[in-house]
Symmetry: C2
Subunit: 335 residues, 2 copies
């Protein structure tokens, strides 16, 4: 039977939420990943040193062992350098949200005035704190990411030593930016390597495949697959796994977010194997991220096997992507 | 208080379904419309003279008075001329569905081979039976209608005397066809004069705004509004009002269809008034259709008034568009 082993898998974009939901979902990621970049969009957002330390403690209390590292992030606001120096040791990155663009992002940036942001971004550059960005405008849903490219360009050229990660990219427009600006990087989810808008609203409407940024066009999927499958040195896996209670997904006005944490590695094996690129998965799911972020995760060895795996209907009330469907790879062992 | 009177409003594209659903929704349309083109996509589809006659009888039994005319349609298959002659008196049009493209369309056309269709389409042309077309390919959801334009062109040029109605158009591409081919006409829904894809999946996901063809881009909306508001002589109102039980809309895998029958005239007044074009609404909602189809509906006079109207949460278990929201026009009287 075909197997594939991954060392120190990393999820470079993860939502763990808080309280009961945190306790439900954190162990699922900690089981199969060495570490994860944890998003700060709680209510209220993680925006102080105390917030970061306390949230990390709650995460560690929710995971069953020590073999998982939550890489903490701070919610972007205009901070001064003294504050950033005080918090630098406790965070791995700062996450910037345009105001109101996605779940719990109301306190984000409402205009990209570089002069207003200069103190913070220059300090981040000096302190080597990467900037993670949810890159969408408030425009038409299919254009939001592409419209944001001019802001990425402005950020990248204004702060050439600042590492800027274009989070959960979904378009050819974003892929094309990777080779244009040295300091632009990207995370890509597993669902954006599988879905187009067709899967979300092309047949029946599928709330469990509804996320932000929304899945785009076939040519966008092709561009994303191209850089992921070759493990382009500037792209990293980031699941953007986003748990919502079942009722919030299956009602009028369904919340955005696809829950993939417990099936991400299986799906990654399936997609990379399907294209004959399993050998590149290690770079995509760990090595690129280690090099880009300069992080050294604890040892974890995950072996997957090509055999049928039926995705559970839910995990503690959270419905995963492909619930009830059969994947072709399963986790065999973890050391 | 501002009022507006419409004479003989016609809904040139309507789904009445059958049995309990028919009894529920038919009176809602019969209340405010003089007549409606009734779609034949029942299970099994309306495809024989007996089907047409029996369905019309069931519709008439479901409406409370004689002031409503169901204009019957036949489900397109390749029929011979003798059959079409035998059924011509009982139908107003024939509706063509590409196979599997929408609700109950499995028995539709699977390839547009003009030679295979020639006997039927030429007979329809000779007998002056209009062809109503659901114009979508099975391509990417945002491209399906635009991709179908080459088939419209083929049909229009192959049968230049056949009246072809592009049903529920949603794109600038379809609007642009109206002035290119003398024998192409179009219906436009009220929801496609209000929505873009942003309203469906741009914020939360909205199952009650999910329909086929899906609402498209802002520039498409602008093009549709342009021809509707000017009451372009080749466009007609057709609601495509499509009732589904509430559970079929608010579950994983929500069915496509927006239910607008009981609020269509109110919304039309709102939109036309908003753009200062109320004077053109009579053409859009009745006179163009009378001329294009050569039909003479029974007298009905509907007066609407500009005052708040709260849309009911549901009509017999069917949730309408804008349920619970307040419209700015209401039906005042019907004679």
């Amino acid at each position: 039977m075909k197997t594939h082993t991954l060392l120190m898998p990393l999820d470079m974009h993860l939502h763990l939420r808080d309280a009961v939901m945190l306790e439900n979902v954190a162990p699922l990621t900690a089981y199969s990943f060495s570490g994860a970049i944890v998003m700060p969009n709680l209510v209220p957002p993680v925006a102080t040193l105390d917030d970061v330390v306390a949230y990390k403690e709650r995460i560690m209390a929710a995971v069953p062992n020590d073999y998982f590292e939550p890489y903490m992030t701070l919610f972007y606001k205009n901070y001064d350098k003294a504050f950033l120096e005080s918090v630098a040791e406790e965070i791995t990155a700062i996450k910037l949200y345009p105001a109101g663009i996605t779940t719990n992002s109301e306190g984000g940036v409402s205009s990209f005035d570089i002069e207003e942001m200069r103190t913070t971004l220059q300090a981040m550059s000096d302190l080597e704190i990467p900037l993670c960005v949810h890159g969408e405008t408030d425009g038409f849903v299919m254009d939001r990411e592409a419209e944001f490219m001019s802001i990425y360009e402005l950020l990248a050229t204004s702060f050439p030593k600042l590492k800027i990660i274009m989070e959960h990219i979904t378009t050819k427009a974003a892929v094309d930016m990777l080779d244009k600006f040295d300091n632009l990087y990207a995370t890509i989810t597993i669902h954006h390597l599988i879905l187009t808008l067709d899967d979300v609203v092309g047949g029946m409407m599928q709330p469990h495949l509804f996320c932000k940024p929304i899945a785009k066009r076939p040519e966008d999927l092709d561009a994303l697959l191209s850089v992921a499958l070759q493990a382009h040195p500037k792209v990293m896996f980031g699941s953007d796994s986003a748990p919502h209670p079942q009722h919030a997904k299956e009602s009028c006005g369904c919340a955005a977010g696809v829950f993939t944490a417990p099936i991400a590695l299986q799906l990654l094996c399936e997609v990379f194997d399907q294209f004959g690129k399993l050998d590149n998965l290690q770079d995509f799911v760990s090595d690129n991220a280690q090099r880009i972020y300069g992080i050294c995760p604890e040892f974890k060895e995950v072996t997957l096997e090509e055999r049928p795996f039926v995705v559970p209907a839910n995990y503690g009330g959270v419905v995963p992507m492909f619930a009830g469907e059969t994947l072709s790879w399963a986790i065999e062992s973890i050391d």
